[in-house]
């Protein structure tokens, strides 16, 4: 069971206080967009084995959404960061690089690096 630190209230709590919200940094496609874009937005997810950017909500705590960079294989948490960004912050990316030198960044919301 994971331990997560909510960047909004500073609390480090166990997974049962939180709710997972799936892949992060999705771009919304609304009316006027193509079927392909809309499908990708609603249904297509990377589901990587390894580094994953995801959304979590501190459901039983401050109620705020935030982002987590996590390894889906080892469950290592590279960092948590605020919800109000469309791409992971530099320090999170740097942390991942230091821990996973071979990782090829496919940064959500920011294309390939």
């Amino acid at each position: 069971m994971l331990m997560l630190t909510c960047p909004c209230c500073g609390v480090t709590g166990e997974e049962t206080e939180f709710t997972n919200g799936g892949e992060a940094h999705l771009k919304r496609y609304g009316p006027g967009t193509s079927d392909l874009d809309f499908e990708a937005y609603l249904f297509l997810r990377d589901n990587p084995k390894g580094v994953h950017f995801e959304r979590w909500r501190h459901t039983y705590g401050c109620g705020k959404w935030f982002h987590v960079a996590r390894c889906t294989m080892t469950l290592e948490i590279f960092g948590t960061y605020e919800a109000h960004v469309t791409t992971p912050p530099q320090e999170i990316l740097a942390k991942i690089k230091s821990r996973r030198p071979d990782w090829i960044a496919r940064i959500p919301g920011g294309g390939s690096e």
């Binding site: 009316p31 959404w65 469950l75 919800a83």
Partner: protein, 1011 residues
Amino acid sequence: MSNRLTTGGRLLDRARQMTFSFNGVRMKGYAGDTLASALLANDQMLVGRSFKYHRPRGIVASGAEEPNALMNMGSAARFEPNQRATTTVLFEGLKAESQNHWPSLEYDVGAINSALSKFLPAGFYYKMFIHPRPLWKHVYEPFIRQSAGLGKAPQQPDADTYEHFYAFCDVLIVGGGVAGLQAAHVAGKAGAKVLLLEQAAHWGGRAPVDGGELDGASPQAFVDRMVAELSGMPNVTMRLHCMGAGVYDHGYVLGYEQLDQAVRGAPRHRLWRIRAAEVITATGAIERPLSFAGNDVPGVMLASAVRDYLINYGVCSADRTVVVTNNDDAYRTAIALKNAGLSVPAIIDARVLPGDSALMAEAKEMGIRVLMGQAVAKVLGSKRVRGIEVCAQAGEGAVLEQIRCECVAMSGGWSPVVHLWSHCGGKLVWNKDYALFQPDLENPPTGADGLPFVTAVGCAAGPITGTDFEGLSLFDTLRGAVEATISVCERQGIRLRDMPKVPTVVEYDEEPLHPIWLMPQGAGPKLRQKTWLDYQNDVKVSDVQLAAQEGFESVEHAKRYTTLGMATDQGKLSNINGLAVLAKALKEDIPQVGTTTFRPPYTPISMGAIGGEARGEVFQPIRRTPMHGWHEKNGAEWEPVGHWRRPYAFRQNGENTHDAVMREVRNTRANVGLLDASTLGKLIVRGPDAGKFLDMMYTNMMSTLKPGKCRYGLMCSENGFLMDDGVVARISDDTWLCHTTTGGAERIHQHMEEWLQTEWWDWRVYVANVTEQYAQIAVVGPKAREVLQRLGGMDVSNEALGFMEWADGTLGGFECRVYRISFSGELSYEIAVRAGQGQAFWDALMQVGADLGIMPYGTEALHIMRAEKGFIMIGDETDGTVIPQDLGLHWAISKKKDDFIGKRGQERSHMTDPDRWQLVGLATLDGSVLPDGAYAVGSGTNANGQRVTQGRVTSTYHSPTLGCGIAMGLVHKGPDRMGEVLSFPGTDGAIYKAKIVSPVFYDPDGAKQNV
């Protein structure tokens, strides 16, 4: 007959005798005994029957690894099966019964299975019970049910209580033997917050039994000193009777504590939910049996267990004990027995060594006969060992001699307890020199920071190879514990003030073991069929060999095919031996075959402990409205809606539920009814961008709603599907109040917050959930207005408060907000008052409306009245695949808006398909009630050969207003097919015929609600 020696037994309190019973026979033991030691003291070696062949089985071990001595314990509401006698502390009045025997332990009919054992090989169940099928029901199943299974299931609810406890520490140490104590001492002195768990009733583990000298004193003195010093450290917590059950991600560990229940009502078990920055496993090692024919006959025991019973409990397992071994350690048992004045006719040592080791020399000096290079060909006896036949280990079992004895003490070497290391991903390596799996330091379990968080110390770590030190020696154990704990502290940034010292140790040098996986090495089929690997599940060497022969090459497959290691002991004794046999059969090395997965818990834990406090009243939260107590006192039959309890109907004067519902509908339509609507969600949405935001949330336009007005709104998911509905009231220029469904308050609140926080975080909107601030009461029916007028305080006339309007005011002195909305088609007011005044307001309404026939009604009457009006219900007409357009709710979907949640989804071709099923009313031709969920059939079959369907029933009731069945349903092109008759086959075999009609059955013009 007593097997208790007059002296000895370091854990016994001989001053406190205790009486207990086994299979109804009264026996005596002492405080400090385990049930197993007390049974042995009473010469009760036979303790159970095996799972498959019902073979007689005796106590084998002295700890958690025991496979045989499983008991039904206690009675009635405190009955519990499968309790290990070896870990059950004896108490006065304990009642135990052996398991899996019929009619009695001594004479078991099922033992005939044993004679038939060649017909019950590995995979027997898979092979035999497939064909012929009729035999399954009449022969196989009754046979298996009678003979299989270990303990009985309890017949009564558990009378005890259980609890959880959340604990946090820097260093958690599992295991209170000398290694664990030493590790705790180092970490404790360094100032770490330490939690030390020991599953047994005593500190010190094996060391006080096995001897040696620590810091110039006995191991017991060392243990006593450690415990005393640790007890004085405020940063160290020590718990006995508390097993480290499982290690999970991010330093999560479960501890399973057995409590003494000194006070009535105190909990029985406590499940510790621990978060540790570092976990040290000091879980020791478990001795392995040897594989020889008849190694399951009662009286064949682990050498260490024989020693434990002797030294810890003053119990001699037999007068004459033969020791069989492939290592030096078992000589300690022979020496201890001899020292206690008991007979050791021989030590059978399968090894051939160039010279005598120190322990061997001592045994010989005491006059014990040592037979090198020899083996047990066969154990004599069935319910009890009578002797052994000796042969050469190198041969095929030609008998050299017979030796009379009543106990065989066997040792096949030791396996580190690597379970807790492995639970969370720690890998193992095979140590060839010591023939064991040990933690692979290169591949430890890693935590949230990606760094290792589990460290094995002592015997659990296995021998530290590549050093001058002896593996599994006392010195190595302590040195490893000190060094590993220093690293743990350093990793946690805990500074050691003084460098801890490793105690000086005096102990025997030991010669290494020789791996012996089968005795004798060339044992033929006859012997192999009597050579047990897994005692509890009756798996023999021949079974594993057969599995390999039949192609089960993966250890995980072979395990499941043979059931090796799948019993309640999870193969603590059998796994390594089984693996070695499998490897040999596959002609591979043991590490290539690998181990099966170690899964928590280490030993079974009670269901009660897992459930913790969540039983009875607090099994699940029940949400109560402010009028809950009144409903309860007034005949409410409850309907769970989420965690809420809502009255389904209020039964009066012995009427049945159906009659109550009919009465409630009729009374509401004729007079006036009261509904507790407090559970409906109420969300305040405020801010300069609130209108824009609500236009996105709802399919219809909320920004144009005038203050003082209400509007029914629909909310869809991004997929386009309808997810909630409710009435929205505009409170002021920048404030709206949104009602949600009963189950929807939290969900819709979160839905709004999610969009505000993660998509439109620059929009200036705040949302607050004020659902529970108010008690909300619907006053419904033609006399509703009169009731309110009698209370007085505000103008509730149609002119002052028209349909779909709201107003603040007072009624009968209660500050309130009144919404003129209707879910029944009647004149209706929903009135919100402060929750704390809800009951008083309800009472006031009941009082002033008494002579008008005011009565409460429940959710079923609510449902019927809304169905009579053709109003949809989320969860009935919707199921997550229905869009508002399917329900004829086009009028509530704004065409002017560029966007709203779900708009894009509803534009997809499948959603605009004219072939979608759409909402209609359904009227049965004979007035009966359509079965709920029934499908309307079409002609022909589909590609799967199933009957074509063309619609289904979503809501169906008997309408007391119309005096017939009414229903709604989704039907293929339904609205275009008015008057057509559909057929609905029921599960009762009948075909129900219903005509497609308008879903509005009652007052289609809305004249009644708009008065």
